[in-house]
Each structure stands twice: as C-alpha cells, then as structure tokens.
Symmetry: C2
DNA sequence: AAATTTGTGTAGAACGTTCTCCACTATCTA
DNA sequence: TAGATAGTGGAGAACGTTCTACACAAATTT
C-alpha cells in the first residue's frame, strides 16, 4: 500500500525464484514445474500482484482491444458492445471503447490514440476514412471493421447485408400496395466508400428498379433531427410519398414526429420503416417496422475474428450477417 | 514504415541532438532554446513521430482518462460522454470508456483493468461498490464519481440533486390533483450507499410525506422490462395509483407499455413521469414528463475536476447540479 | 560409459520514454 | 578579473515487463 505497486520482482523475492520464472508462470508459458507454479501462484495471491499493462506493452501484449465508436448516440451500439464483451468475457482481453465522433478528423485522432496506447487490436465501427488510411492502420495493427462493405486484404470485415435489408423493406411496402416510396439517407461528408447508408441507398434504388418504380431520395443525416427535416421536405411535395423508408431508426423517429405534426396518421396516411431495430422501435407507442441486424452476433463475430487475427491468421475474412424484417404497426396497406 | 515505429531516438538522430532534448521539446518542458525547438519540431514532423504511450506510462503520464460506464444501454450516458470529451477536446488528454456492466464484480474488474493500464485518472459513473473499495481506488488514482451522493475525502463527486428532482415530480403531480402517486425504483443488489435510485426514492418519500400522502413503492430495475413489470404490479392493485413516477425514463417507457396494454390512456387514466429526460422523451409519441439533469454539464464538470485533481488539487470537491422538470403530455390533471 | 535429449530455472538485454544530475557557455555582479 | 548566476544541452539511470540464450541436472539413448 505505502510503497507503490507490487512488481514481478517483489513476487520473485517472496517466492525465492527469479523474475523470469515468475513471468513464465504469469504468462502460462512452457517450462514450469508444478512446484514452481504453486510457489509463485501463492506469492502472487499473497501480495495481490497485478501485471502492469504499460510495462507489458513495451515488449509484448497489452491484452487490450479497442473499439472505435463513430457516434455514441446511436442506440444500436450497445448491442454490438455487448456482443464484443460477451465473447471476450472469459479471456484475458479487456475491451476499451473510444468515442471517435462523426468527423473523420476526430476519428483519426482516436484511432491514433489507440495505436499509441499499443492496443493489441482494433474494432472500428463504421469508420469514416479513406480505404488508404484504413489499410495503413491495418498494416500496423490487427483490425476488424464493422459496417463497411467491400473488405480489403489487410483487415477483416463484419457487415450486415444492407442491400438485402433495403430490399426486404421495399418488397414489404410494395406488397402493401405502395408505389411512391421515398428514402431518407445520410449525407456523406467524406469520400468514404461502402458505408452502410450508401449501400442501403443503393439497395433501395435497386429494389425500386426491380419493381419498375422510380426512386425518390433525400439526403439529410441519421439523427432524429435529420429524419424530421427529410420527412418535412418529402411531405411538402405536391405528389407526396405514401411510404418513407428511413435508413436508420433514429431518423425514422424524426419521420414519425414530422408525420404527427403534419396531422398524418401512421400507417393510414403514411407508412414508415426504419433500419436497425433499436430497442424503442418495439415500444407500442412507436411500433416501428424495422430491419433487424442482430448487433450481438455482429459484435461477437468481430471479436472472434479480431482474436484470430491477433493470434496469427493473415488471410482476410468477410462475414456477412443476414438481416430480418420486423413488421410492426408503422407500415400498412395503402 | 518497414522498420516499425518511429522513436524519440530517431528524432534525436535526425535533428542531431540528444534524446533528452527531444523529450523536453515534446513535453514542452523548461530549458529549450527557440532554435532547438524549431529543429526538433521539424524532425518530428518529417518523421511523423508519435510518443509511445506505454513507454511514457513507465515514467510519467499516459494522458489517458478512463470513464467507467455502468450500463452501456442507458441512453443518458451519451450526454455525459459528450460533456467529458467536449471539455477535453483541446487538451492532450484522451478519453477511453470502459464498459463495466451492472455487476459489482465486472465493474471492479473494469476499474482494475483501467488502473493496470495506468490511466491518469478515472471517472466512475454510478459505480456499484462499497465506500471502502471506492476509497481504496481513489487512494492510488485521481477519481471523480458521478451520480453517487455523500462524497468522500478521497475523491470528487458530481451529483444531480436527486432529492430535489423527485420533489419536483411529486409537487407537479400533487398540483395536478393526484394523491395516489406510486414510485418505481431499482432493486439494489449490492450494499452500495447513495446511488441515485436510492436518493430519488428517498426524495419521493420525503416529498410525499411533506404533502401528507402515503408512499407506495415497488422495486424492480431501471430497464424497460423493469418498468413494465413494476407498472403491471401497481396497476393490478385494487386501489391502483393514478400517477406513476418511474425513477428513470427507460423504466417509464416500460410503464407506458404496461398502460397501453392495460387499455389505460395517458394522461387521462394514468399520469406517468420519468427521470433523466432522455432524447426520445421529447418525441411526440412518447411525450414523457421527465426530470432533466443536463448530462453535458455533469460530464464537463467531472472532466474539469478530474484534471484539476491530476494536476495537484487534494481538497475534495462535490459539485451538485440542479435538475429541471420538463412537463410534457404524459402527465395531466386527475 | 559416453553421448544425447529433455526438462527446468536464471541472467540480462531489450522496449521507449522521463527526469535528475551534471557540464558547459555566456552573461552579470562584485 | 574573479566569482556567481542563468540558460541550455546531454548522460544515463530508472520504470516493469518479456524473451532469447544459456546453464545445469536428470533421464534417455547409443
């Protein structure tokens, strides 16, 4: 207590062995007798020794995995995080989350910070960066990217099949008799390729074309406010859409607000669908038809791939998770 | 690129000076000439040098602050995090979040992990621990605790005035003519003192007494499900309450679901109020009367106090933030 | 019986910083 | 002119691990 932290040298002294031996025991390395193992373990317990991560980092592992969050406010993240931490629960890896913000610059600062802290691997959720920057990061550190299509050889990817998700929504709405189906997407600031909103928008376009329908998109942002403004714009048109498919639930909530304010009842006057199936979508009051992408599975998969890569795999893997359409009260027949 | 990371020695060689000099420049320490400063800065830029945090940690600072999150799913956290990161934006500190879970054991594991990684300071959000454990942590690392009443000399505290918040709700409901006002609180597993739910419950009790009314509480959990179950129990009573004050918005959402299922309209048949004023509370569809506690201010305050403490302050500070009642459509006259 | 293999433990050099001394020069004071 | 004082730069010892090389003993093979 008084004299600072307990080090491996203290343990070695207590057990009457060398620091190298203690290190072996701690790491579970080869070449330790049962007797040595017992002696050292006892000393560790008695002294309450905990390995100093920074010192470890100087030579080997830190046993720390970083998850870069692009937008803390997105209610979809907790599922992913739960998947990641759940999968890592019984390993000695620790997960630390880095709030990267939505700006490319702040995200880059965050990933740099994580690399500076010599994390063993990084999970990047919907990073807004160029492919080149991503490849540069992945060249130095094991990386798994979530939610970005078109994987690269340098890192693993876990994606939701957003094309399929968008098609599920369009098919559902067309099946209900809708023809004027609008889509609200996220305005991309950076020249990043393969972000979910882009793919969802593309999937929407394809699905509309497949049904011989004209697409109608407005680009705001994936926020409640963005959905609200997008919907206001769409609903002000002379020939307003009868259904709005927002690329994210959070935006769909804004659409619902705009509908309420415009005196339109959902789903009688306007059908609304979202994407992500966030928790509150199931509230009776909201009852939002949405595409579910099982964040826990995505998170757990990402964690698994990352550990594999840290432990030596070099061949790149892309894991695609199929989404499901959850039909609720916000969509109905025309 | 090919030969691993750029170190302070590389910079020193390039600039033709000693590593000690480079270190001084990097740290902005005293005793550097303008010429030296320029020479070294140029070499740093040319080589793209970044200090290795782990190596720094061996001797000095890591410039890393940890925030322990007790429940990632709580929609109230993003505000706090935004406050923290916002306040730290232009400093050289980096914020890393640790998902601690709701169990005392997992939270302890998380704080230990953060200490092992020699973070310069810790912000703990509603930690579920004994005062003794908290004091032990704070003895070794600067700590600011958010959302836990009854501060201790070893750490700083930032709290919402939960007694006042509860009183605001009760006063409001009584003003509307309600007398049978129930409260849903969180069942505490651990023997932790001064957690928000406890204080809110106590504030509710006091306020009811002040109005000469009998209190009626049920303890489930601060989740949508917990609110739902608590409300089901309350609404099943022969003399059911006319207003339910949930100790957290997330639970209030569950109350709304229970009301909907029971065929009760809000606020005509039942008034519902929550606490935290989470984003979706303002959605027209939800329109939940709630107590707002400005998470951003709380987060920013915590960050400020933590930095002060890291930089030498030892006198303990407790900062209390006054909440506001936001009246919306979920509460109405009896 | 000698040679080889296997098992177990240790010495000691990294790893990339920080920071305390110390040395040197140039300026100022007596 | 000698002595003191700033101001600036550098040497080198930490910090707490990991891990390669090696030493030694015991067991096994020739």
């Amino acid at each position: 207590m008084t004299s600072g932290r307990v080090t491996i040298a203290d343990v070695a002294r207590r057990a009457g062995v060398s620091t190298a031996a203690v290190s072996k025991v701690v790491r579970g390395a080869y070449g330790v007798s049962a007797e040595m193992q017992a002696k050292v373990s006892q000393a560790i317990d008695e002294l309450g020794y905990r390995p100093h991560a920074a010192a470890r980092a100087m030579r080997g592992r830190t046993y720390t995995l970083g998850v870069m969050l692009s937008d803390t406010r997105n209610p979809f993240f907790p599922d992913i995080i739960e998947g990641v931490t759940g999968h890592l629960r019984d390993t000695e890896y620790q997960v630390l989350l880095g709030p990267g913000g939505i700006e490319p610059k702040t995200q880059a600062r965050m990933t740099d910070a994580m690399i500076d802290r010599s994390m063993d691997g990084l999970i990047l959720i919907s990073p807004v960066t160029t492919d080149a920057e991503l490849a540069a990061i992945a060249a130095g550190t094991p990386v798994v990217v979530i939610g970005r299509h078109g994987g690269a050889p340098a890192y693993d990817s876990v994606v939701d099949d957003d094309v399929m998700g968008a098609r599920l929504v369009v098919d559902h709405l067309v099946g209900l008799g809708h023809t004027r189906i609008a889509h609200i997407t996220h305005l991309e600031r950076a020249r990043a390729q393969g972000l979910p909103h882009t793919v969802r928008a593309e999937g929407y376009r394809q699905a509309m074309r497949a049904h011989g329908l004209a697409d109608d998109m407005v680009a705001t942002s994936f926020t409640e406010e963005g959905g609200y403004e997008g919907a206001r714009e769409l609903l002000a048109r002379e020939n307003r859409p009868t259904a709005i498919f927002a690329g994210a639930d959070i935006a769909a909530l804004g659409v619902l607000r705009a509908a309420d304010e415009a005196g339109l009842s959902v789903p009688e006057d306007l059908s609304v669908a979202g994407y992500d199936n966030i928790g509150i979508a199931s509230l009776k009051r909201i009852s939002l038809t949405s595409v579910d992408q099982d964040g826990q599975v995505i998170g757990a998969t990402a964690a698994r791939l990352l550990v594999e890569r840290i432990e030596g795999r070099t061949r790149s893997v892309t894991s695609s998770v199929s989404p499901t359409l959850i039909v609720r009260g916000s969509t109905g027949p025309l």
